[in-house]
């Protein structure tokens, strides 16, 4: 076939239809990731500043500032035989990952569907709804990976690491970030942001973080409030991360429950997002 415009190039790089369609089918999600990464380049410095600045601010405020108060009242050790920094650091990393994931699940999704409609464009090319969602979630995982790794590095500098196993907080942070994917499914049903995203941030995510054993153990809460932690992925993720950072501090079955809770929620959110995205694109 000939090219449509004056061209010195072999059309379609000389690849046949079947080969090209097959490549789209197999690597489509990664092409979506490539697109997102290229777009991220334009706000690279903002991202980097956030990723570097956040850990230092939070670790200084909690691990150093608040710790003096807490530890003074407790005589050195905070809980489970570790200091306050060791206690709070894994949960801070989990929270950072959750925050950026929630941002992508909300603004990233509506951006793709509505604000610059890149999902519509991808879908007009051979990319399926599932590949778009996969690509988005891989991108979220990559962002969580980088953010959690930098955060972990900062914890090391602050002297918050007890065991080398604590490095597992990075994959746990990614898993916890993915367990919030039902938010993405919800976003896939929205046609307008009338401030819902802000409500989710302020009335759900922020309080969830506070009542999930982030800065104090869940057991400190009155029993009638502790259920918030039990249904909160942030609590499950933080506790899981603590087991490897300085644990074990709980029976093994509970650790297994943490993993299952996060995996099931992530899988559920992923399936639902794929279904709703596909449906919306095929309208």
């Amino acid at each position: 076939m000939t090219s449509l415009i004056p061209s010195s190039l072999t059309p379609r790089a000389g690849l046949d239809d079947a080969t090209l369609a097959d490549r789209s089918r197999r690597f489509g999600a990664w092409y979506v990731v490539e697109h997102k990464l290229r777009a991220a380049r334009s706000f690279f410095w903002t991202l980097l500043a956030t990723m570097l600045g956040t850990p230092f601010l939070y670790l200084f405020a909690f691990g150093v500032g608040l710790a003096t108060l807490v530890v003074d009242s407790r005589g050195g050790e905070f809980v489970d035989g570790v200091g306050y920094l060791q206690f709070v650091a894994p949960a801070l990393i989990i929270n950072a990952a959750v925050l950026l994931a929630a941002e992508e699940y909300m603004f990233g999704m509506l951006l793709g569907f509505k604000w610059n409609m890149i999902f519509i464009g991808m879908n007009a090319a051979p990319i399926s709804g599932r590949q778009i969602v996969d690509g988005m979630f891989i991108y979220v995982s990559l962002r969580a990976l980088v953010t959690a790794s930098i955060y972990y590095g900062a914890v090391v500098l602050f002297g918050g690491v007890v065991s080398p196993w604590s490095l597992l907080v990075v994959p746990i942070a990614i898993l916890t970030a993915l367990s919030f994917s039902p938010i993405a499914a919800w976003s896939a049903t929205l046609y307008e942001d009338r401030g819902q995203f802000n409500i989710v941030n302020r009335l759900i995510l922020m309080p969830l973080s506070l009542f999930s054993g982030t800065v104090f153990p869940l057991s400190q809460l009155p029993v009638f409030l502790q259920w918030i932690g039990w249904v909160s992925p942030i609590w499950h993720g933080s506790e899981l991360a603590r087991q490897f950072s300085y644990g074990p501090t709980e029976p093994i079955w509970l650790t297994v429950v943490h993993v299952l809770f996060l995996v099931v929620l992530a899988a559920f959110g992923w399936r639902l997002t794929v279904r709703l995205t596909t449906k919306r694109l095929a309208r």
Binding site: M1, T2, S3, L4, I5, P6, S7, S8, L9, P11, R12, A13, L15, D17, T19, L20, A21, D22, R23, S24, R25, F27, G28, Y31, E34, H35, R38, A39, S42, N116, M117, I118, I120, G121, M122, N123, A124, A125, P126, I127, S128, L281, A282, R283
Partner: protein, 304 residues
């Protein structure tokens, strides 16, 4: 290239497309002409293998879009009604990421992107932000993007809606070149001049159904006269004047703002009008257009 028969798309109980049949041959430039809400875009989305049909038969490049959606889409170029360029990317980067979706190698896409930017007269804007482009430039960039995979069929949904006259003419020129190269074009429009300029064959659609089919010239021959005399007497006097105009030309059409007299000879019809003692405020003799065909078929004008 495309074969559709009894194509239906329903949203709940309302049929956006209600039993449409047509075929498009290789190298043909095919148009769907109709007012807003006629079902043009829905038809295009089905032909684009994005939206699933409710019933009917549809084959694109010999494949069923329900089964081979991605395979079909990998050989199409799509220019949607609303530009969906990525505003977070620079002009050239939009082409680079898009080419990847077709499985094309990066080096090939990069070279192709430069050629296409040249073709779209955007070579000097390749480092610009999408937001800084004019409407016409965005449209051309979207067309360039649609050509990144050397598509076999180019689908254009209202390519020039909302553009100023100059931008439209530049775009038409580019599309005409594609047509000359033998590209199969399928486009929707509610502009008669666009359909006449670019389409070999059109279907006139309204309320999800086909009203007429043929080349622009054939449609005009079949459904209208050679010329049209447009006379205005003032909004409240048109209807009364029309009574006195009876018998002039082949047929009359009374619109709120003017009376159309369909005639083989418009000047003669105008002369007869004045002979009958009528003095229109303004008069115009013009060639018959697709608008007249549409008016004849539906009793409504295309752009309301």
């Amino acid at each position: 290239m495309i074969a559709a028969s009894d194509l239906v798309k329903k949203y709940k109980d309302t049929a956006a497309v209600d039993g449409v049949s047509f075929e498009v041959a290789p190298g043909e430039s095919f148009g769907l002409l109709g007012p807003n809400g006629a079902g043009k875009s829905t038809t295009m989305r089905m032909v684009g293998a994005v939206s699933a049909r409710t019933s009917g038969r549809l084959e694109i490049l010999g494949m069923d879009p329900d089964i081979h959606g991605p395979e079909i889409r990998s050989q199409l170029g799509v220019v949607p009604q609303q530009d969906n360029l990525d505003n977070e990317l620079l002009v050239r980067d939009n082409l680079l990421v898009y080419g990847r979706y077709f499985g094309l190698p990066r080096a090939h896409i990069a070279e192709r992107a430069d050629e296409l930017l040249e073709f779209a007269q955007l070579a000097d804007r390749k480092k610009a932000k999408v937001d800084d482009l004019s409407g016409g430039m965005k449209r051309r960039l979207t067309i360039a993007r649609a050509l990144i995979n050397d598509p076999r069929i180019l689908l254009l949904d209202e390519p020039t809606t909302g553009l100023d006259p100059q931008a439209r003419h530049i775009l038409w020129d580019r599309l005409f070149r594609l047509k000359e190269q033998g590209t199969t074009l399928v486009l929707t429009t509610h502009y008669m001049d666009e359909a006449e300029q670019l389409c070999d064959r059109i279907i006139v659609v309204d309320k999800g159904r086909i009203m007429a089919e043929g080349s622009p010239a054939a449609l005009i021959r079949a459904h209208s006269s050679r010329e049209v005399l447009e006379v205005r007497f003032g909004s409240d006097k048109n209807a009364a004047a029309a009574v006195l105009l009876q018998g002039i030309g082949d047929r009359l059409e009374v619109l709120p703002d003017r009376v159309l007299v369909y005639s083989g000879d418009g000047e003669e019809a105008l002369a007869e009008t004045t002979r009958r003692g009528l003095e229109p405020l303004t008069s115009l003799v013009r060639r018959s257009s697709l608008e007249d065909v549409f008016l004849r078929l539906t009793g409504r004008s295309l752009i309301e």
